[in-house]
Amino acid sequence: MRILTVDDSSTIRTIIGKTLGELGFAIEQAEDGEQGLAKLATGPVDLILLDVTMPVMDGPTMLEKLRASGDKTPVIMLTSESKRSIMVGAIKLGVSDYILKPFKGDELRTKVLKALHLDEATFARAAAPVVAPAPVAIAAPSGDTLDILVIDDMENVHKKLRTLLPEVVSMKGCANARDAIQACRDASYRVIVIDLVIPDVNSVTLMNQLRELQPQAVMTALALRSATDAATDAKTRGFDDCICKPFDAALVEQWRIKYFARAAA
C-alpha cells in the first residue's frame, strides 16, 4: 500500500517515512500541495497525510483541488494548526482524521491503520505470506439455526471471540439478558455462552430460562481464568461446559471443535 506525505518539514517526512515504512507501507513524499498534486497525477495512493501550512500551495487548497477533481483518497490532516475553522472546512471536503503535531508514533500508526480499515490483526494477516488454507469439513448450518450465542456485557468479549472462531462458524453477541432472551426467540443456537459475572443478572437463572427456550443448546459458562476450578463449579451450577476469559486461542479451538465439525488433519 502507498501513502503520500505532504509536508514542508523534511524532519516530519522522515519520521513518517520511518514509522510507517516499518509497517510495510511504501511512502511517497511532497514538500507542498503543488508537488503533492503532481505526485498524484503519476499514480494513485491509498492515503494522504496532509500538513496545513506550507509554501506554494497549502493543505486546504490542495484538498479542495483534489476533491474538485473527484479524487476521494482518504486524507488525514497532520498539522500543528488547531484552529477549528480550518478543520471545519476540511471536514466538509471529507477528511478521515486529524493528528496534532508533535505526535506520538502510536497515534500515527493507529490512525493510519484505521483510515485504511486495517486493524492490527487484519494488518498482520495482510502482511503475512498467503498460505492455502487446509480443507475443512464443516456441517452446513440449517436455515434458521445459528451456531453460537455469546452473552456478555462487554462487547470486546464478543469481538475477541469472533476473531478466534473460523468464519464458517456463525456467532451472535448480546450484552444483556433481555436481548439474549429475544435472540433465543428469534433463532436456534447450537451453543450458548453465558458470562458468569453480568451486572444485575443471575447467570444461572438466565441459563435456566434460555434452556427452556433452547433445550437442544449446549450451555457453556464463561468464567474468569483466575477462578479456581471454574469447570467443576460451572458443572455444579448446571452448565454443560465452561470456557475462560481472557481467551486462550488454543483452548477456544479445543472447545470449538467439540461442537462443530473437526478440521481435517
Binding site: R84, V88, D97, Y98, L100
Partner: protein
Amino acid sequence: MVAAASTAEKLVGELGRIVLGRISAGRLVLPVMPAVAQSCLAILQDPNFQQKKFTATLEREPLLSASVLRSAMSAANANANVKTLDQAVSALGMQKLKSQLVEFMTRELFKSTDSRIQSATKKVWEHSVAVATLAREIAAMTSGANSDTCYLAGLLHDVGKPILAAMLLDAERKLGKAKSGWLDIAVWTSTIESGHRKVGVALATEWKLPDEVTSGISDCSEYDSENRISAANIVRFANALAKREGFTTTTVDPADIDALIMIGRSMLGIDDDVIAKVVAGLAERVAQAA
C-alpha cells in the same frame, strides 16, 4: 430584523457594562441566590476563617447542610467518625466546602420561576452536568488533569447564561415590557450566547475559583495547543461531545462539532473507541446527577 439585531447588540453592550461594573464593585446581587449560600462563601473567603460562624450560617440552609454532611460521610474513611455538621466541616476543609457551595449555588442559578426561560435554563443545566460528567471522566484518563477541577469547570462553563437571562428579565420588568415580549427568543438567545462568557469569568473570579476553572469558562471555541492537557481543553472537548450526544441548547453545526472532537482527540490523546465507552450511558448519568 436588522433593527432587532442592532437593539440586541446595544443591549448586550449595556448589560455587559452594568453587570461587570456591579461585579467589580461587589454589588452584583444574583437574584435567585440563597442568601445563606452567599454568606457561607463570604465566610470561606475571609482570611480569618471562623469555623463556628461558618457552621452556624450553613445550618440555616437545610438542603446545603445535608449535602455537606452526606459528602463528608461518604468521603470519610472508617476512622473519621463524621456525625455532625461541624465535624463534616472540619473533615472536608475549605476547598472541598467551597466546591460544594459552588455546585449548590450554580444549581440554584439555573433555576427560574419565569416560565419563558425555565425550559431553556433547564436545558443549559443538563448540558452543563453532561459536560461536567464527561470532563471528570476524561480527566481521570489523562495524566496531569485534576478530575474535581475539571468537573467544576464543566459545571460552570455556561454559568453566565442564567445570570444574563435573569438580568434581561429584570430589565424587562423595570422597563415595564414584561407583557410585550420585546425581545424575540432568537435575539434573546443570541444576546446570551454573545455575552455570557465575560459574566461567567467575572463570577468565577469573584468566587476566587482556581485559574483552571476560570479558563474553562472564558473560551470554549479554540483549543490551547500550548497546554494540551488542561482543564480548559478538556472542557472544550467535553462540551463538543455533549453537544454531539444531544445535550445542546441551540442548533449546532455538525461539521463544527466534528472538527472540535477530531482536534480534541489528538490534543488529549483519546481514541474513538474510548470516547464511545465514555459517552455510553451518559443520559442516565446526567439524569441522576442533574
